[in-house]
């Protein structure tokens, strides 16, 4: 009995840790934005999908992507795919990650998208985010927001001038034309998510 319990709990742990796969329905959330309002995906009734990006204030890889994330929002929000940024770090575990710090960063960089705090850190484990930045592209369907892409923004985090593969653009362009993304899972270097 005990061993069955252990097996069961480790299975739970595994499921919990793995996060979403392509085709899964992603959970909605209600998280505080830098403007102090609460934001949920459900509010976006005009959207046909979302570019959800787990990113943060202090990770240099995230910082290196800020301009590219603004550009994605500028390009795809009008087409129905707004960027929703979520900071998964526990501000108690890392200096510079409080909502007030996030607000300053959003103002300084002129973020055109909501920048939410994963308060209590309940959302990033459900998605299976492991690093910042980490992207999940969701397509709005009858059954909910379906995960269609997981991974990197492009193939060159550290040297934007050397980018040759624009994974997120390619994936959203495919979805906009009614196709599935050809490449739906990629990796990039990133910072570990900070927890206590």
């Amino acid at each position: 009995m005990k061993s069955i319990l252990i097996l069961f709990s480790s299975l739970l742990f595994l499921t919990h840790n793995h996060g979403y796969k392509i085709g899964d329905v992603a959970t909605d959330f209600s998280l505080p934005n830098v403007d102090a309002k609460m934001v949920s995906l459900a509010y976006y009734d005009q959207a046909i999908g979302f570019i959800v990006i787990f990113t943060c204030n202090t990770c240099p890889y995230s910082i290196a992507y800020e301009d590219r994330i603004n550009a994605l929002d500028a390009q795809y929000k009008p087409k129905g795919y707004p960027v929703i940024a979520i900071n998964p770090n526990d501000p108690a575990a890392k200096d510079g990650e409080h909502l007030t710090d996030m607000k300053q960063r959003a103002l300084k960089k002129g973020f055109t998208f909501p920048y939410l705090q994963d308060k209590g850190q309940h959302i990033y484990p459900k998605y299976g985010a492991t690093r910042t930045p980490h992207v999940f592209i969701l397509e709005k369907q009858e059954k909910g927001n379906v995960v269609q892409y997981i991974g990197a923004i492009d193939d060159s985090s550290r040297s934007p001038e050397k980018v040759s593969k624009r994974y997120v653009e390619d994936a959203v362009n495919a979805l906009l034309s009614g196709q599935k993304p050809k490449v739906n899972t990629t990796k990039a270097i990133g910072c570990s998510i900070k927890t206590l």
Partner: protein
């Protein structure tokens, strides 16, 4: 009599100043697959990564041991090599070999290094001629020592 001392000082400085090659993944790969009788500990880190810096002394201590070779693969920004990486190495007197991995197509090399690596740092590869394991996590000193012990014949 001042001159010999001066020259000794110069040559000592040259010896201790580490040169840090910038490598493509093709150039790095052989260093992740050496077949000899050593335990190889390869740590992926960056100078600004707080959990990485915390565990650097543990890797430095390992590197002093017989039959263990540590390689510190920096994932700092290539444009910061001169301004941040090299000063960090001198300031902290790092003795382990350091290389800068300067290669785009991260999706390719992250998977090639280990299919289970999500790409987050710190991360560490430990291998010998018999086995290899990859850890996407940080270590306490004892955790790292025990792991490396398990690779010793």
């Amino acid at each position: 009599m001042i001159f010999p001392k001066f020259f000794i000082f110069i040559s000592f400085s040259l010896l201790s100043a580490q040169t840090v090659p910038s490598l493509s993944y093709a150039e790095l790969k052989p260093l992740l697959n050496q077949s000899d009788d050593k335990v190889h500990v390869v740590n992926f880190w960056a100078t600004w990564c707080a959990p990485c810096i915390k565990e650097l002394p543990y890797f430095e201590a390992l590197n002093k041991r017989k039959n263990i070779e540590v390689l510190l693969v920096s994932l700092d920004f290539p444009k910061h090599k001169q301004s941040r990486l090299l000063p960090f190495i001198s300031k902290n007197k790092l003795q382990s070999k350091v290389v800068l991995l300067d290669d785009v197509d991260e999706n390719y090399w992250i998977n090639d290094i280990n299919a289970n690596w999500s790409g987050a740092i710190p991360a560490t590869l430990i291998y010998n001629s018999q086995k290899r394991d990859f850890y996407e996590r940080s270590f306490t000193k004892n955790e790292l020592l025990n792991l490396v012990e398990s690779f010793n014949p």
